[in-house]
């Protein structure tokens, strides 16, 4: 029994190590922050050298980038997209708007904290975050995956009632 645990742990360890080198992101470009993604991906900052490539459908991606303020209308789509993605999946909150509403903190149409509705693994602060900050965010996500701490998707399954309750509160 114990032997099996050791083997399984080693297997998962190796897998995490490989997994962090290949992350496909779904850039759900909800708002202004998305404009920082092209320089991050193209020649100057070259995210592909970490194995991070943009992908277009939720079925194929590992990271959900929520780039900026979230309208109540958009939240519905974001939740759908997140639930369509295949686990293990990670969420990156991008810009101050996802942390506390940013400059839209008193708007009636904007939800303020992303992690009430989805389990966020990494936040990238800034309005808007520079490509350097974005790359740094990716690096910290890779580090978390390596240490086995990027468990947002498990949390979403375990605390599903909590997240659903919060979502219901704003979406009605």
């Amino acid at each position: 029994m114990e032997m099996q645990d050791v083997i399984e742990e080693g297997y998962v360890g190796i897998l995490e190590d490989l997994r962090k080198r290949s992350l496909w992101m779904l850039h759900y470009c909800t708002a202004c922050g998305a404009i920082e993604l092209p320089p991050t991906i193209t020649s100057r900052f070259d995210a592909e050298r970490f194995g991070i490539a943009p992908f277009v459908t939720s079925r194929q991606s590992d990271i959900l980038l929520v780039t900026g303020y979230i309208n109540i209308k958009t939240l519905r789509r974001i939740v759908t997209v997140y639930e369509q993605m295949l686990p293990p999946k990670y969420v990156i909150g991008f810009g101050s708007c996802t942390i506390n509403g940013g400059i839209y903190w008193d708007s009636y149409a904007v939800v303020k904290r992303l992690d009430l509705y989805l389990p966020v693994d990494v936040y990238i602060a800034g309005c808007m975050p520079t490509p350097m900050a974005v790359i740094e965010g990716f690096r910290s996500l890779m580090k978390l995956i390596d240490e086995g701490k990027a468990n947002g998707w498990k949390k979403y399954i375990e605390d599903n009632a909590y997240y659903k309750e919060n979502q219901r509160k704003v979406l009605g």
Binding site: L15, R19, R49, G51, T57, R59, Q60, M85, L86
Partner: protein, 295 residues
């Protein structure tokens, strides 16, 4: 005995060579963009990651079988290709059989993608089959030119007939150009990448595939790259005396293709078919005519 072992191991070899070619291509594209680019083994990492996904979403039996049929067709196609010094599977008519089997993969994908019910998938697969109509015409004419010239349909004999620099590239340049453009279209490079066009149809037939399905499709893609380049090397670049030269020639084909691929935008589907039915077909017909006159 050796023949049988080689036969069994060929798909594995094809997979790894294909992975290497795909990785090389990604690196090269990055360098042309003046980027550093992903490591050479990046496609392998992608495949491992996809195969290690926790869940899989299925839309039905045919949806699951689609990638299996595609991969199975690729493995079968690999077995028909001659390796340097080895004649795999079937004694007669393998060029013709080859051309037929290569289609099965696309049909499998069509059935699988069709069941997913996603409109992007249907559009993608319609484009794939239409494009096939385009590049198959010049390719079949080019293949028939070779059959006419050498009087054989065996890929192994065609390969051997070109030893000592008697490459078809030098002696039948028009046919070779037609064959190259057709192969290029079959690989789905720019400007013929209408099928997967991420900006228009969100990777087309693959749109609903994720996780292990997509992993299998990526394995299939790697083998497909091997098949297309190997076929071109066998038919026009004189094959090779050992496996390393063979891979080197495949790499050459990939390099030339990537150089073109990186700088071109995308055709619309009707333009792509029109292009195939015009230039490569004219070249192929001229080549056929020359061979016919020359005896």
């Amino acid at each position: 005995m050796v023949e049988k072992i080689v036969l069994v191991l060929t798909p594995v070899l094809a997979f790894f060579v294909g992975i290497f070619l795909v990785g090389f291509k990604r690196k090269m594209v990055a360098r042309i963009h003046r980027r550093y680019g992903p490591p050479l083994h990046q496609p392998l990492l992608d495949i491992i990651k996809l195969l290690a996904k926790k869940e899989n979403i299925s839309h039905g039996v045919m949806f699951d079988l689609g990638p299996v049929i595609a991969l199975g067709a690729s493995i079968l196609t690999v077995l028909f290709l001659p390796l340097p010094g080895f004649k795999l599977l079937t004694p007669y008519g393998d060029l013709i059989a080859f051309l037929y089997i290569m289609v099965i993969g696309s049909l499998g994908m069509a059935l699988g993608a069709g069941e997913s019910g996603n409109p992007n998938a249907s559009i993608g697969i319609a484009r794939a089959l239409t494009l096939m109509l385009g590049y198959d015409l010049p390719f079949i004419i080019a293949g028939n030119t070779l059959i006419l010239k050498y009087g054989t349909t065996s890929l192994f004999n065609l390969m051997n007939a070109q030893s000592n620099l008697h490459w078809n590239l030098f002696f039948l340049p028009l046919t070779a150009v037609a064959g190259f453009i057709a192969t290029y279209g079959a690989m789905g490079e720019h400007p013929f990448d209408v099928v997967v066009a991420p900006q228009e149809v969100a990777t087309g037939p693959m749109v609903e595939y994720g996780g292990k399905h997509l992993g299998m499709l990526m394995i299939d893609h790697a083998m497909h790259v091997y098949i297309e380049t190997a076929l071109f090397v066998t038919l026009f670049l004189g094959g090779a005396s050992n496996i390393w030269i063979f891979i080197l020639k495949q790499l050459g084909v990939v390099i030339v293709m990537t150089l073109v691929d990186t700088v071109l935008p995308r055709f619309r589907i009707e333009n792509a078919v029109r292009y195939f039915w015009r230039w490569p077909t004219i070249f192929a017909l001229l080549g056929l005519f020359i061979v016919y006159l020359g005896g």
